[in-house]
């Protein structure tokens, strides 16, 4: 009986330690493993790298219209021509940095800030812009319209 009494606090003490250690280890390991497991799962938006982006879906644009999309940290302009082909350019006006837009009445690219006009090849044809707009490559992949920076020669 004395033996039982002597071992009682011993067992509770051991149980407490076991609980702390075991439970704690389990909890801490879970808090390490959980983020790692989530990390290993690839995110929904695939990283195509800084040089490419999906600008629009196939039937999103109507002929003779434009759309502003994000390319890296600057805006880009995607234009669908009347014949169904696409072109994409930088949408940052080379004059003072305003965002340009596609004018379907003029069939040219226009900057509302100081009436700068670019042709569809990005060349600055009228107004204050000093330089042409950068032109990007456009490919259709499946039902996605992918815009990428021009490969350096």
């Amino acid at each position: 009986m004395t033996a039982d009494l002597l071992s009682q606090p011993e067992t509770t003490r051991r149980r407490v330690i076991e609980f702390f250690l075991g439970g704690g280890l389990l909890a801490s390991f879970a808090s390490f493993i959980y983020p790692v497991l989530r990390y290993l799962v690839p995110p929904a938006v695939v990283d195509l790298g800084g040089d490419e982006i999906v600008a629009a879906k196939l039937n999103e644009l109507k002929p003779n219209s434009g759309k502003i999309f994000r390319f890296g940290s600057r805006p880009g302009l995607l234009i669908m021509n009347s014949d169904g082909t696409y072109r994409a350019l930088s949408a940052t006006c080379t004059h003072l940095g305003c965002t340009v837009q596609y004018r379907n009445d003029l069939r040219e690219i226009w900057c509302a800030c100081h009436n700068g006009i670019y042709d569809l090849n990005g060349r600055n044809v009228s107004g204050p812009p000093p330089r042409p707009l950068d032109v990007f490559d456009v490919h259709v992949r499946g039902d996605e319209i992918v815009v990428s920076r021009k490969r350096e020669a």
Binding site: S28, P35, Y39, V45, G50
Partner: protein, 359 residues
């Protein structure tokens, strides 16, 4: 069940014999025993680096036009990417700190004395390799600060007479810092340096196990005279359990740092922009950088910066060979080295603070 596993291993690998040294290993127990933790913590942080580094490798792309965006992707789109990256960056800095602290504690406790000279030599080389890890890894996100820090750092390497220029071209992968530099640094960071460090680390740890833990000189004299005064702790499980506590604390600190102070992304590097004013290297290079800034541009007939670089090179070499300058007999040499150690610590600390505060 644990015992059954051990029995299984023993039947095939002579496990008991293999692990005998570890089971018999003791750690001296004295006032300064806490310093013994530093080596283990550095090793632990290195393991963290390898694990988080491998995780980062799953998403990181080396290459001037992709690196920054891939790190941005990790920080924003990948689930817990911010955590993995921030832990990697914080643990890197912490590891360099503990490596330095470990080196200085060994220096002051005089653990480099015979027969532990090679442990010291491998250790100092490991310290240099770890700083190389820091330098190469810092460039990988390809942001403005890293770009210019690399430019300045490799420029300084180029100052060494005769071999400096070829060394600089080797490091940069060309005359200037470009995407080629990034690719090269990536190769150093994930292949070359890990390989070298693994080999040296194995050697270092093996030597520590073979030679046992060193005891400060005064204590050693006491304990040799009076063996009953010796206090020791078994490595398994007592010291190891304490080390595990230290490692868990380190984990907590890392997690807190990563969550409360996530590592900055910066701005993508643009080689054609001029360097931001007051560009400084990472803190662990500050003491050298500040020294170079203080040396006058011409000393006698030698260019000041060249003199500084050569001086540091010489000090580095002598540092590796430090144990061989002290042998058992002449005691004035020992005092010399103690004085030098104090000076070195004060210099590194002082110059780092100065460099941090200077414009």
């Amino acid at each position: 069940m644990f015992a059954a596993l051990l029995h299984w291993l023993d039947e095939r690998f002579d496990w008991d014999d293999l692990t005998a040294p570890l089971r018999h290993k003791t750690v001296p127990s004295h006032r300064l025993s806490y310093w013994y933790f530093l080596g283990g913590i550095t090793l632990f942080l290195f393991v963290i680096q390898v694990l988080t580094g491998i995780l980062l490798l799953l998403y990181y792309r080396p290459g001037a036009n992709e690196a920054f965006e891939s790190v941005q992707y990790i920080m924003t789109r990948v689930r817990f990417g911010w955590l993995v990256r921030s832990i990697h960056s914080w643990s890197a800095n912490l590891m360099i700190f503990t490596a330095f602290a470990h080196m200085f504690s060994v220096l002051f406790l005089k653990a480099y004395r015979k027969p532990r000279e090679l442990t010291w030599v491998t250790g100092v080389i490991l310290l240099f390799l770890v700083m190389g890890f820091g330098f190469s890894g810092y460039l990988l996100p390809w942001n403005t600060l890293a770009f210019f820090a690399t430019k300045v750092g490799t420029e300084i390497t180029g100052q060494v007479p005769v071999v400096g220029k070829p060394m600089m071209i080797f490091l940069r992968g060309g005359e200037e810092v470009t995407g080629a530099t990034l690719t090269r640094f990536f190769g150093f960071h994930v292949a070359v340096l890990p390989g070298l460090v693994t080999v040296l680390l194995l050697l270092h740890v093996l030597l520590v196990q073979r030679l046992g833990m060193s005891v400060p000189p005064k204590l050693e004299v006491q304990w040799t005279a009076n063996p009953s005064a010796k206090r020791e702790m078994r490595f398994l499980p007592n010291f190891l359990l304490r080390e595990l506590m230290a490692w868990y604390v380190a984990l907590g600190v890392l997690g807190a740092l990563a969550a409360v102070f996530p590592w900055n992304l910066g701005v993508k590097a643009d080689p054609f922009v001029s360097a931001p004013a007051g560009i400084k290297p990472e803190w662990y290079f500050l003491f050298m950088f500040q020294t170079l800034k203080l040396i006058p541009s011409k000393v006698w007939f030698i260019d000041g910066e060249v003199l500084g670089v050569l001086a540091f090179g010489l000090v580095g070499l002598l540092w590796i060979l430090l144990p061989f300058f002290e042998s058992d007999q002449p005691s004035h040499m020992k005092r010399w080295i103690t004085g030098l150690s104090v000076f070195a610590l004060a210099y590194v600390l002082g110059m780092s603070v100065y460099g941090y505060l200077a414009k």
